[in-house]
Each structure stands twice: as structure tokens, then as C-alpha cells.
């Protein structure tokens, strides 16, 4: 006999003047290998067509479906109900602006982050169509990719104590982005340049070291190591700057 799952889902449509924030309850019979992707779509198609949530690749690759699942930020698409108790509470990710119900606006937040971190290769080199590519050690490429695997789901920011306290904190995702460019030999920025971006309380020195970011990262990025590495690096840069004065 399969379980009857009880879903408590946050509801609010800011575009509907009659809507007030509240929780709605839905009951669904559990089927084999049920994921939150399948469950939420079934609820929308069979019980309440107004339910808002975001899915895209539904394969854990694109990061669209971050939400708070029984108190913990995670990707809904790869969350199997058999790993959860019979009562499942779903809330939208905090920090990001609410679109409606479980859907939030991550796009605006992340595009601002790209500009804050200048999330691109800074180089004076001009691309030459007729030249061979610059050589790179395969291990360097693999190390860059390790940090490039971030899918910008927003889970780390939602789980971050500092980000919840202060709106201007950049979060692990932005710090990891800086770490990615710092180890890329193609980026000509110096440690001093990176210090300008993250050498402050909005950046690496704001981190309280609670490390929920690493706990919830669905791609298992080495965020603890990254934050430690950057803190040390930026600390040294700060001291160097001090003595230069």
C-alpha cells in the first residue's frame, strides 16, 4: 500500500489583489520513483492549475528548481519523495524576490552578481583567427571546470546566515566565481584587483564561516575550501597593502 503524501505549499500571487500569503494543503498518492518534479506537475494538472513553480531541465543540470524542502534549500527535480517523510513542506527560496508561490526571480540577482564580480576574462590579448589556441595544462583546465560547475541555483545564498542578515553580502556563489577566475591563467587581473571586489564585509570578510553553503550545494562544489583559500589570499593581500603604505 503506497503512502498518501501531504504537501504543505506556500501560496501567494502578488499580481492578484485578492491573494494573501498562506499555506495550502494537497494530498497525493505516492508512486514508484516519485520526484518533486513529477509530484508538483501532477498537483498543478490535477488539483490546482494556478500553482506556480519553476522547472527547466528536470535533470539537476540547470538550477531552475531551487526551493526550501522541509526546511532545507535544494533542487526539487532530483528530490525523491521516498527520501522524505509523509508530510512535505515546500517554501520559495528566501533572499530572491518572489514571483509567486514557489517561483522566485533568480535571474535579476545573478545578472547583478556578474557585474559586481565582473564575471568574465579580463585580458588585453586580442583573438587571432589564424593562430593556434594558447596552450593550457589539462589539470589547470580541470581545476577551472571544477569551480565552473556551479549551476546558479541560489541554494547557497538562501542557506547563508550572512546573506539573510545583510542584503549586500555577495554569497558563496560570487566568491566561488572570483575563485574560478583567480586560478584561470587567461585572466590578467591581479590579486589586488580581486581584493577591490571581495576584500570587504560584502565579500570574503563578511563570511561567518557557518558553511551551510557547502552543505546544501547540489553540485557538491568545494565551497569550504574556496572560502578558506580566498580568505587567506585576501588576508595576505591586505597585509601586503598595509606594509606598502
Amino acid at each position: 500500500m503506497s503512502r498518501l503524501l501531504k504537501f504543505n505549499i506556500f501560496r501567494y500571487n502578488p499580481q492578484d489583489e485578492t491573494s494573501v500569503p498562506h499555506m495550502d494543503e494537497f494530498v497525493l498518492e505516492e508512486t514508484e520513483a516519485l520526484t518533486l518534479f513529477i509530484a508538483l506537475n501532477r498537483i498543478r494538472e490535477e488539483q490546482d492549475a494556478s500553482l506556480q513553480f519553476d522547472f527547466c531541465c528536470r535533470a539537476g543540470i540547470c538550477g531552475a528548481c531551487g526551493m526550501v524542502i522541509n526546511g532545507r534549500p535544494g533542487l526539487a527535480c532530483h528530490t525523491k519523495t521516498r527520501d522524505l517523510p509523509g508530510e512535505i513542506t515546500l517554501l520559495p527560496l528566501p533572499v530572491f524576490k518572489l514571483v509567486g508561490d514557489l517561483s522566485v526571480d533568480t535571474g535579476t540577482w545573478f545578472r547583478e552578481m556578474y557585474h559586481k564580480t565582473e564575471s568574465w576574462i579580463h585580458t588585453t590579448k586580442v583573438f587571432d583567427e589564424n593562430a593556434l589556441e594558447d596552450r593550457m595544462d589539462n589539470e589547470v583546465a580541470e581545476n577551472i571546470y571544477e569551480l565552473d560547475r556551479c549551476i546558479e541555483c541560489g541554494c547557497c545564498v538562501s542557506a547563508c546566515g550572512t546573506a539573510r542578515l545583510r542584503e549586500d553580502f555577495m554569497g558563496a556563489v560570487a566568491l566561488n566565481r572570483i575563485g574560478r577566475f583567480l586560478i584561470d591563467p587567461r585572466d590578467q587581473r591581479t590579486e589586488r584587483d580581486y581584493y577591490e571586489i571581495i576584500g570587504n564585509d560584502e565579500g570574503i570578510f563578511g563570511c561567518m564561516g557557518l558553511l551551510a553553503c557547502e552543505d546544501v550545494c547540489p553540485k557538491h562544489l568545494p565551497l569550504q575550501n574556496q572560502l578558506g583559500f580566498l580568505r587567506r589570499k585576501m588576508g595576505i593581500t591586505a597585509i601586503k597593502t598595509l606594509f606598502r603604505k
Binding site: D16, C57, C62, W120, E129, D137, N138, A141
Partner: protein, 614 residues
């Protein structure tokens, strides 16, 4: 009504659209990409395997060059492609890979010295050259003479999209995400932009542009089982076909990928087989080499999917509560390889199936994966029928894939075509004056507003959008799948026409306020059914087998009568069938139709005397 003006408007912010946007922005044009999702969630990010480009850096790709790549692509297309376009693509691909390296893509690189690899379950040794150390390396993919697929682990699409989106941010390309184009604005000659709907607020926004580009990806979601993301639903195509004057090319050419996992239909990359993985049947025995002695598991996708389906029909499928399937075996590749170069595959198997691919077999079967058809363009990416409208990537029928595309050729196409078409858009911008007609803009806006009001009020009926959509998907699945027959296709067309009538009487269950997912689904439904009819009716009329289009009642490739591309128009909104026209597959023929070297089938040669009407 909010109106936004931009020089260049791109529908879609995946690789093709953003690559073109970079060309426009760096040439000084204001450029906006509209996207249903934040740019980096576009389906390009899910492409795992890699991009084909004839660089020839790895020892297994030694001697590779655009000529060999071109030949593989034409054979792969079963001579359905435009050879001029395939040539353009193959020549440009290596340069584009280097451009991406310059922008920051962490391509895997050549590591000199000895290493081992697997083929057909057996281990071999190779030695990479010292002089190529650190250059972009490549892996094997199906239907290729050389190891040609450049890759970043098995997250190539992700890594390239992040890089290209970074460059967009750098150059001031605006991405308006959670915004869906629902109608083109045009006067029958020139495209002026689109009416779009905000998926944040539900508000309608008019975008006016000198040049508009469709780069919205594929439309696999008109099938019930697809590897495609939920956003790949063809909504931008519905806006294009609604013009009645822009045709869709080769809509019957639908690719089924051999390794969608069972259940959930998520893709595991062709790289699994490229890196030496094998396909096993119910007896856990290999079978592909008995059908394809030469290429075995690495024949082209259409051929492998066909043999897999055939083998299951012969009774060698594994029974499961989700239907028959086969096994993919990558156990022999070892833990380091699987958790390194096939890491995404490892995560998908453990995360979604609860299967550890280092020790266990992966359940797979052929699953809808790619749309070779799409908005028909010329070699510059300019759409047929409307000035100022362009298309590139999977959304377009450019047409380098013909009736079957090779693995690694579509991801490469996104950036190569994006670059080429982007530069053509810049040329167009510089030589064109566009007069915007405000009456037409207002009328299009009003018509869309009316369409929404009708759906919300239920004036046309009360059909459920989700039920009608499911019936469309099932009809297509049943009749326009890997193996096709006249009877099955006639039934399919018949069923879809009934679905079309119901799609015209959909009414919402909700008030449609705000982002309203129900309204978003309803707005595209009628157009989706029309696309489904283009697939089914095009397949019914095409009485031959070519690439992925396989007619059991017409098993031969017929170069005498069918070396043509289907152009499907939806001339009047109230029509019940598309209007089909045909054009020669290619104007330039470098390689005349011949044997592909795999997937042996009968061929009716163009020299055979009996004509089409004879």
C-alpha cells in the same frame, strides 16, 4: 502598453542566440535577448558531450580537418542537408572552438604520452604527441571517422554557455528573462519585433526591433517522452508559423537518442559510448556489432536507435513496469573515468535512478531528443518569407543536419551558426532602413490581448489545456515515432485534427492573473498542435526512408523522388492541415548521394528512370 525599442532582438538566450547577440553588441547595436528562463538555464546548458570541430589535435583525430568533418556531416544527414551550409559550418568550427577558448572555456586539453581507452568493451592503448601538449583535445562520437568532439568533462554545454553569457554581460547584451514572445509583429513583408508576455507579472510588452532572431531551441515537448527541458516547447515556433508566410523545414525529421534513461527520459551522453560503453540486451550480451559490424555502438543515432527498437521487438528487451528497455554498460571504464569525464552521468544515475554506474547497468531506450526541422532560413540565417527575421541553432532549419544530425554537431552548430548569422545580422542592420508601422504594432498587441481575454473568460469553450496537450503528445508518440507507416500516420493526422479542434476551445480553470503557468501553456497550445501536424503530415507524404525518418512501407532511401526538403506553411489560421511545398535538398553538391558506411538500406538512385509521377 509598455514598448521597448532595440536594434536587435533575439528570442532565446541559449548558445545560438547569445553568440549572435555578441556579434551585434560588439558592432555597436543595442541588443536584447528574451528568455523564458534566466539565460544560463537555457537548454544549451544540458548538452553534455561536446562540440565537433576538425582540429585534429588528439592522436585519434590525427589527420582530421574540415573536409573530413564535412563528409561525415553529409553522410550523417543521409544527404538531406544543404551541402553549402554543412561546408560553411565545418570550415568555421575549429576557429569558433579557439574563440571560445580565448573567452574562457576550460576545454579539456591534450596530455602527451601513453594512455588507454575502450572500444566495444575492449581496452586499447594510444600515445598522444608531445608537440600537441596543451591544445584542445577531443573524444569519439557516433558517425565520425575521427575523434573530433571537443569537450569539457561531460558538462560542455554548461561550461560554454556560462562563458558566452559572461561575454554577453561584459558587452552589455541585455537579457530579459522570464519573458515569452507570443506573437511576431509584421506587415507581411518585414518583421518589426514581437509582442511578449512577462512571466513575472503577466503584463504584455511590445518589443520593436530592426532585426529579430529566433534562437529558441527545439520543440521536443510536443512528444510525451523527450530528453528536452520543459522549456523546449516550441512556443517561438508557434509565433513564426502563425505568420502564414514563414515555412518550417523538414518537420518530419525528428531524432531519437539511443540513451534516454528509463524512467524519466533524462539523457545520458553519447560520450558514454564514445568513451567505450556498450549496449546490452536482456541476456546482458552486446548486439550492435551483429547489426553494424563496422561502427557497432558508434553508428549514427538514427541507426543505433532503429536497431535498438528492432532488437526489442525481436524479444530481447528487458521488461520493466515502464515498458521494455535495454542496458548501457560503462562499468569497465572504471571509477576514475566515470566520476571524472562522465561525472554528470554518474550524478544522474545515482540521483534519479538510484543506480551506481560503476557497478551497475543503466536502463536506456531511444527517446525523442532533437528537432532537425525548424524555421527555414537561407545560408545567412535569414528566414524565408519575412525581411528582418533570422533564426539559428536548433530552432532553425539552416540546414546542416538534413535527416539526422551527428552527436556533437548541434552544440557546435549553436556557436558556429550564432557567429555566422550574427555577422549577417550586423550586415543587414548596416544596409537597411526599417519603417515601423504603428497601426500594425497596435493591432498585433490588441489581437494578443483579445486572445488572452478569450482564454480567461472561457468564451471559446472550457477544454482543459493539460488534457488537450496530453492527447496531442500521445497521438504523436503513437504515430510519428522511430518506425512509421502509412496507416499509423493517417491515424495520427486524424487524431491530431480532432485535437486541433479541441485546442481552439480551451478555457482556463484559473483567473490567469500574474505569471499564470496555465495561461502560458494555453497561449501556445493551438500552435503546438499545428506543429505536431506538420511533423505527422510531412512524414505521411514522404514515401521513403531517410535518416531518422523511417517508413516501414517504404524502406528505401529514394534519391530519385525525395532528395528534397519539405517546407510546411500554415497559410490560414483556420486551416486543418499545413500546406506542403518542396525544394531541392541542396543547390551545391560536393558529395553525390551514396553509401553512408553504416545503417545499410536499399537506395533508389536518382538515375533510376521512373519519375515521381510515373
Amino acid at each position: 502598453m509598455q514598448t521597448i525599442y532595440t536594434d536587435v532582438l533575439v528570442i532565446g538566450a541559449g548558445l545560438a542566440g547569445e553568440r549572435a547577440a555578441i556579434e551585434a553588441a560588439t558592432a555597436g547595436h543595442s541588443t536584447i535577448c528574451l528568455s523564458i528562463v534566466p539565460a544560463r538555464r537555457s537548454h544549451s546548458s544540458a548538452a553534455q558531450g561536446g562540440m565537433q570541430a576538425g582540429l585534429g589535435n588528439s592522436c585519434m583525430g590525427d589527420g582530421d580537418c574540415p573536409d573530413v568533418h564535412f563528409e561525415d556531416t553529409v553522410k550523417g544527414s543521409d544527404w538531406g542537408c544543404d551541402q553549402e551550409v554543412a561546408r560553411l559550418f565545418a570550415e568555421r568550427a575549429p576557429i569558433e572552438m579557439r574563440q571560445l577558448a580565448h573567452w574562457g572555456v576550460p576545454w579539456n586539453r591534450v596530455v602527451p604520452g601513453k594512455s588507454t581507452y575502450f572500444k566495444g568493451g575492449q581496452q586499447f592503448e594510444k600515445v598522444e604527441k608531445e608537440e600537441n601538449a596543451g591544445l584542445i583535445t577531443s573524444r569519439a562520437f557516433g558517425g565520425t571517422a575521427k575523434w573530433r568532439t571537443c569537450y569539457v568533462s561531460d558538462g560542455t554545454g554548461h561550461a560554454v554557455l556560462f562563458t558566452v553569457d559572461n561575454v554577453c554581460a561584459q558587452h552589455g547584451v541585455e537579457v530579459h528573462d522570464k519573458t515569452e514572445a507570443i506573437s511576431l509583429i509584421h506587415d507581411g513583408e518585414t518583421c518589426f519585433g514581437v509582442v511578449a508576455r512577462s512571466l513575472r507579472t503577466g503584463e504584455l510588452i511590445t518589443y520593436i526591433a530592426k532585426a529579430t532572431m529566433v534562437a529558441s531551441g527545439g520543440f521536443g515537448r510536443i512528444y510525451p517522452n523527450t530528453t528536452n527541458a520543459v522549456i523546449c516547447d516550441g512556443s517561438a515556433h508557434t509565433a513564426v508559423l502563425d505568420t502564414g508566410i514563414v515555412p518550417m523545414g523538414n518537420m518530419e525529421a525528428v531524432q531519437f537518442h539511443p540513451t534516454g534513461i528509463v524512467p524519466t527520459d533524462i539523457l545520458v551522453t553519447e560520450g558514454c559510448r564514445g568513451d567505450g560503453g556498450t549496449l546490452l540486451d536482456v541476456n546482458e550480451e552486446r548486439f550492435m556489432h551483429t547489426y553494424e559490424p563496422e561502427k557497432a555502438e558508434l553508428a549514427s543515432r538514427d541507426v543505433v536507435s532503429r536497431w535498438m527498437t528492432h532488437h526489442m521487438r525481436e524479444g530481447f528487451g528487458v521488461k520493466s513496469s515502464y515498458g521494455d528497455h535495454l542496458w548501457l554498460d560503462i562499468r569497465h571504464l572504471g571509477e576514475k573515468h566515470i566520476t571524472g569525464k562522465l561525472r554528470e552521468v554518474y550524478e544522474i544515475c545515482t540521483g534519479f535512478l538510484g543506480i551506481d554506474p560503476i557497478h551497475q547497468l543503466i536502463p536506456v531506450r531511444p527517446t525523442q531528443h532533437y528537432s532537425m526541422g525548424g524555421v527555414r532560413t537561407n545560408k545567412d540565417g535569414a528566414a524565408y518569407g519575412l525581411k528582418g527575421l533570422f533564426a539559428a541553432g536548433e530552432a532553425a532549419c539552416w540546414d546542416m543536419h538534413g535527416f539526422n544530425r551527428l552527436g556533437g554537431n548541434s552544440l557546435a552548430e549553436t556557436v558556429v551558426a550564432g557567429g555566422i548569422v550574427g555577422r549577417k545580422i550586423v550586415e543587414y542592420m548596416e544596409g537597411t532602413e526599417v519603417l515601423f508601422n504603428s497601426r500594425i504594432i497596435d493591432e498585433t498587441y490588441a489581437a494578443q490581448k483579445q486572445r488572452i481575454d478569450d482564454l480567461v473568460s472561457g468564451r471559446k469553450g472550457t477544454e482543459s489545456v493539460y488534457k488537450v496537450r496530453a492527447d496531442m503528445q500521445q497521438a504523436l508518440h503513437k504515430g510519428a515515432n522511430i518506425f512509421r507507416t502509412q496507416e499509423g500516420l493517417e491515424e495520427c493526422v486524424d487524431a491530431l485534427q480532432k485535437v486541433l479542434e479541441r485546442a481552439r476551445t480551451v478555457g482556463l480553470r484559473t483567473n490567469g492573473k500574474g505569471a499564470s503557468p496555465e495561461l502560458a501553456a494555453a497561449l501556445k497550445l493551438e500552435g503546438q498542435v499545428k506543429m505536431a501536424l506538420m511533423v505527422a503530415y510531412g512524414a505521411l507524404q514522404r514515401t521513403e526512408s531517410r535518416g531518422s525518418h523511417n517508413r516501414e512501407d517504404f524502406p528505401a532511401r529514394n534519391d530519385r523522388d525525395w532528395l528534397v526538403r519539405t517546407l510546411a506553411y500554415w497559410k490560414n489560421p483556420d486551416d486543418m492541415l499545413p500546406t506542403l511545398q518542396y525544394e531541392p535538398a541542396t543547390q551545391v553538391t560536393e558529395i553525390p548521394p551514396g553509401d553512408r558506411g553504416y545503417g545499410k538500406m536499399a537506395v533508389i538512385s536518382s538515375d533510376d528512370s521512373k519519375g515521381k509521377e510515373g
